[in-house]
């Protein structure tokens, strides 16, 4: 039995437990930030382990855990998102009295996300998705004194539970059809079994799984929870959901559809394509009229799920490559955007409202530049990371004879420019900053660091795109036999 394959997961779980335990003690002033440091250390060690293991893809536990290039790269994305979330939570009022739980749950959720993408088996994947969901239900509601936060947690719990039920139903059907829960075996059965494909049972299995994963990825029509939950949750947790959860959900999509169900591609291609197209259209139109930047980013996250799903719909290695590159780019731009929102929230009441940003770029030019870059990149303006990602996704779609999907994506992007640009224009508009900061908390350096790193990455990922694309290419290739 290959136990080495589990090292990243062991480290993360241990860090999660340690952080939670550390919360049980009243820590003296010097050790006040112990949970955070445990978190940073745990994530750091896991990242280093993954980098060390990059050249030796392997699987263990009877193939239930697979460290392929794809799962390692996606775990890396999740870990960076976790790292950033901990940094963004520095001095965050949410969960102030319970830092141990807060950080511990973030680490637990990250472990769940990693488990989802390294899964070689439906059961493992399910456990991963549950672990991340349950941790996030609590995290959304962690500000127990704030009504919106509780509402957010409850809404996420209810819709999430439905998603889980559907997912397990879909997995059960898949198991019934193929006689195995192993993704490899399912893949082989579907590949060799011509008669299995196009059967109503298999089509419904695929549909159920797509629906359930769509819940997690906030894809249309299972996106309804997104704006409320994103708005109510503490902003660092919102950031974590829109980056980490999305990565995990996309990983699951790739493993189940592009990977295992490759043989039945004809059964699900149009389905995923339709979800993708609908998400792009609905998400971008929904974002148009939002007055809260957080809500707008929630709708934008729906639209972005649509772009990402293009990479699944095509069902090719190039599609996966494009998707993973876009996930990396999306991570950079989302972190940058949310970091600025968090910054503003610390300064004024209702800091997530669009008018709180009026003229903000003139007061903190660097924040204005970062936010502008993030918005332009999300809108897909060249020469930024978001553009390269969209370019690859469109290429993948056109290359696989899904021109219609690329055209829908192009038109939806044209709509999205309106609301993304509005934010950046408001930032630089000449009207004075709304008022004197009400809650003059000092700008925590970690938050500023995340913002600036994100901003730099948006440019760097485009200019030095080739090395990153090479990594994504390895990852995409490892998905298909």
């Amino acid at each position: 039995m290959n136990v080495v394959v589990g090292i990243p997961l062991y480290v993360m779980s241990a860090a999660a437990l340690l952080a939670i335990v550390s919360g049980a003690f009243t820590l003296p002033g010097d050790l006040r930030r112990l949970p955070e440091w445990i978190g940073l250390l745990g994530v750091g060690i896991t990242l280093i382990t993954l980098i060390a293991m990059w050249d030796r893809p392997q699987s263990g536990f009877a193939g239930e855990i697979r460290l392929t290039h794809m799962s390692m790269l996606m775990s890396g994305i999740i870990l960076v998102a976790t790292l950033a979330t901990i940094a963004l939570s520095w001095g965050e009022p949410a969960g102030a009295g319970r830092r141990g739980e807060y950080i511990g749950l973030i680490l637990a959720a990250a472990t769940g996300m990693m488990l989802t993408v390294v899964a070689g088996d439906l059961i493992v994947m399910f456990i991963g998705i549950e672990l991340l969901s349950v941790s996030l239900y609590i995290l959304c509601a962690i500000e127990v004194t704030r009504e919106r936060s509780l509402e957010s947690g409850l809404k996420y719990l209810i819709t999430g539970a439905i998603g889980t039920a559907i997912l397990i139903y879909g997995f059960a059907l898949l198991y019934g059809m193929t006689g195995s829960t192993s993704l490899n075996v399912i893949g082989e059965r579907l590949a060799e079994a011509g008669p299995l494909t196009s059967q109503p049972l298999l089509v419904s299995a695929m549909a159920l799984v797509a629906v359930a994963l769509g819940f997690k990825a906030s894809a249309v029509p299972f996106h309804m929870w997104t704006p409320d939950v994103y708005e109510g949750a503490p902003t660092p947790i919102t950031t974590f959901m829109s980056t980490g959860t999305k990565t995990a959900a996309m990983g699951a999509f790739l493993l189940v559809f592009t990977g295992a169900a490759q043989g039945a591609i004809a059964d699900w291609r149009v389905l995923i394509g339709a979800i993708s197209a609908a998400s792009m259209v609905v998400g971008n139109i929904g974002a148009l009229r939002q007055t809260s930047v957080k809500r707008m980013l929630a709708w934008s996250s729906v639209a972005q799920a649509g772009y990402l799903l293009m990479g699944v719909a095509v069902g090719t290695a190039f599609g996966a490559e494009a998707l993973i590159y876009y996930l990396i780019a999306y991570l950079a731009m989302t972190l940058a955007a949310f970091a600025i929102v968090i910054l503003r929230e610390r300064e004024v009441e209702d800091g997530d409202q669009l008018d709180a940003f009026t003229g903000y770029g003139r007061r903190r030019p660097w924040a204005g530049v970062v936010m502008t870059l993030a918005m332009l990149s999300l809108a897909g303006f060249p020469p930024l990371a978001g553009f390269i990602g969209k370019f690859m996704l469109f290429s993948a779609a056109i290359d696989s004879d899904m021109l219609w999907l690329a055209i829908v994506g192009a038109l939806a992007s044209a709509v999205s420019v309106v609301y993304y640009l509005r934010v950046s224009i408001v930032m630089w508009s000449p009207a004075p900053v709304r008022d004197v900061p009400e809650r003059t908390l000092r700008v925590p350096r970690p938050v500023a660091a995340v913002a600036v790193t994100g901003g730099v990455a948006i440019i760097a990922l485009a200019i030095w795109a080739q090395p990153v694309i090479d990594l994504c290419r390895d990852a995409g290739a490892s998905l298909l036999p």
Partner: protein
């Protein structure tokens, strides 16, 4: 030295430096802006000196691989068409910068920085040899223009900016899909992924593919031009933008569309271009007539010039789309002419508007009395704009009309209407503001008189007009080869007889 790349890098660096200058230091901002544009002019002159007139292909190429796995590269160079557009851009931006510096709005450093960024976009676009790079600069140009309208525009600036952005984005994103499709089809034919225009040029596209791809590209070009009926953003954007920005948009941004048509649309997809020849020509003809009528009825001088631009661009598109050597060369020359004339016209509108506080023609009159020097300059520009024989625009329009006439006589007849209308609306603008009884404050004329600062902007433009009017051959000869090559495939498809006598030589001999 990678001179062509420097064309893009110099203004980019200047723009970044400008953005970092503290707002209070307006003098330093002016110096950096003028130094940046001035240096760019110098670089463009170096490129012109190194330019080889004997070749029609892209030359002085700077090639660096960017994303090799996708076949995208940084590939800049100039050919006979782009060399003049580059020079026009650098010169007009310098003059625009001088005008902007004289009346710097609030937060002037950002204003100038954004102007420089739009110059980066335009210069990059005119020199791109790679389709993706072309797209990158195409979009790069949009952001600064949108910010300029949105931040420094008139009362209706938000709607203007929004309309402008949405219109152009729809076009450009469809173009992006077309670019990717083109490269994927080319990859199957060539065996490797590339976006280099010169590599794709030889690829035979099937009839349907060629038509669809051409249409995908032309939509973006038509919106940028704008071609009727895609001009919905024009009155808002031209009307609301700060006038320096309006002038640069009309003079240069519109050329981006024409350039795309001539450099990418027609040469890469001759079949598709030939299929869509008549529809596009009809749109151009409608644009000529409709734009002229709108200009005739326009209330403000700014809109009059803006709509006249719609008509003039119709001429240029027609000149390209009939696939006639003479017409195409006329179109290229007219691109330069229109850029210079429309910039000069907007400069005059700016001076009148600043002196009198209004751009409304009904409220102006008899200004010539107090401002004789301005009146002279205005008259010269008016004559050039209505293409009076002997003016620079006459040469271009004559080439276009003659070329169109020998392919499709009926088109030339309709297009002639535009020439007549041009006289009507341009003279109306001149007469109603300069002649007749004085309106408004008695001494208004003197306030509008040309000052030294205005002269620095206007006199170079008038000198360029004379230069082109007197030696059009200099311009036409340098671009003739590139133009001929651009339309040659389409001429073959359309079955046009290739006329051997260089029309430039034949025609210019009879002209002054």
């Amino acid at each position: 030295m990678p001179w062509v790349s420097l064309l893009v890098i110099v203004p980019l660096v200047a723009a970044i430096v400008l953005a970092m200058i503290p707002q209070r230091d307006r003098m330093l901002a002016r110096t950096v802006a003028l130094a940046g544009t001035g240096l760019t002019v110098a670089v463009s002159i170096v490129v012109l000196v190194l330019f080889d007139r004997g070749s029609g292909a892209l030359q002085q190429i700077d090639h660096v691989d960017w994303i090799t796995s996708l076949g995208i590269s940084w590939d800049l160079g100039v050919d006979g068409i782009s060399i003049w557009l580059v020079l026009l851009t650098t010169v007009l931006f310098t003059l625009g910068m001088i005008a902007a510096c004289q009346h710097l709005p609030e937060r002037g450093n950002m204003f100038l920085s954004l102007l420089l960024l739009s110059e980066v976009g335009l210069l990059g676009l005119f020199t791109s040899g790679d389709l993706v790079l072309f797209y990158v600069f195409w979009e790069f140009m949009l952001i600064p223009f949108a910010f300029l309208i949105w931040t420094w525009g008139g009362d209706n600036r938000r709607r203007a900016g929004l309309t402008f952005v949405v219109y152009t984005m729809v076009g450009s994103l469809i173009m992006l899909v077309a670019i990717i499709s083109t490269a994927l089809i080319a990859r199957d034919h060539l065996g490797y992924a590339t976006f280099l225009i010169r590599d794709i040029q030889g690829v035979p596209f099937s009839g349907t593919a060629s038509t669809l791809l051409f249409a995908g590209f032309v939509l973006a070009f038509a919106i940028k031009l704008p071609l009727w009926p895609f001009h919905g953003w024009l009155p808002l954007a031209y009307g609301e933008a700060p006038i320096v920005v309006t002038a640069l948009m009309a003079a240069l941004m519109s050329k981006a569309g024409v350039y795309g048509l001539l450099r990418i649309g027609v040469p890469l997809f001759p079949d598709g271009a030939n299929t869509l020849l008549i529809p596009i020509a009809i749109l151009a003809l409608i644009g000529i007539v409709y734009g002229s009528l709108l200009a005739w009825r326009a209330r403000t001088m700014r809109l009059l010039v803006g709509y006249s631009s719609l008509a003039h661009l119709g001429f240029i598109v027609l000149g390209i789309m009939v696939f006639d050597q003479m017409a195409a060369q006329g179109a290229v020359l007219q691109m330069i002419n229109h850029g210079v004339v429309v910039a000069a016209a907007f400069a005059i509108v700016m001076m009148l508007g600043r002196g009198t506080g209004t751009e409304d023609m009904d409220r102006l009159g008899g200004l010539a009395k107090g401002a004789p020097r301005l009146a002279v300059a205005f008259l010269i520009v008016t004559m050039a704009a209505l293409a009076l024989p002997g003016s620079n625009a006459f040469v271009g329009e004559f080439f276009i009309l003659a070329g169109v006439f020998r392919q499709f006589a009926w088109m030339a007849v309709i297009a002639m209407a535009g020439v007549i209308y041009a006289a009507v609306y341009m003279l109306r603008m001149y007469q109603s503001t300069m002649n007749g009884p004085a309106k408004g404050v008695a001494d208004e004329g003197r306030k509008t008189e040309l000052r030294r600062g205005d002269a620095i902007v206007l006199v170079p433009l008038i000198l360029i007009m004379f230069l082109i009017a007197l030696w059009p051959r200099v311009f036409v000869d340098a671009s003739a080869k590139a133009t001929d090559q651009a339309i040659a495939p389409a001429q073959v498809v359309a079955g046009r007889p290739l006329i051997q006598i260089a029309p430039s030589a034949a025609a210019t001999r009879e002209l002054p």
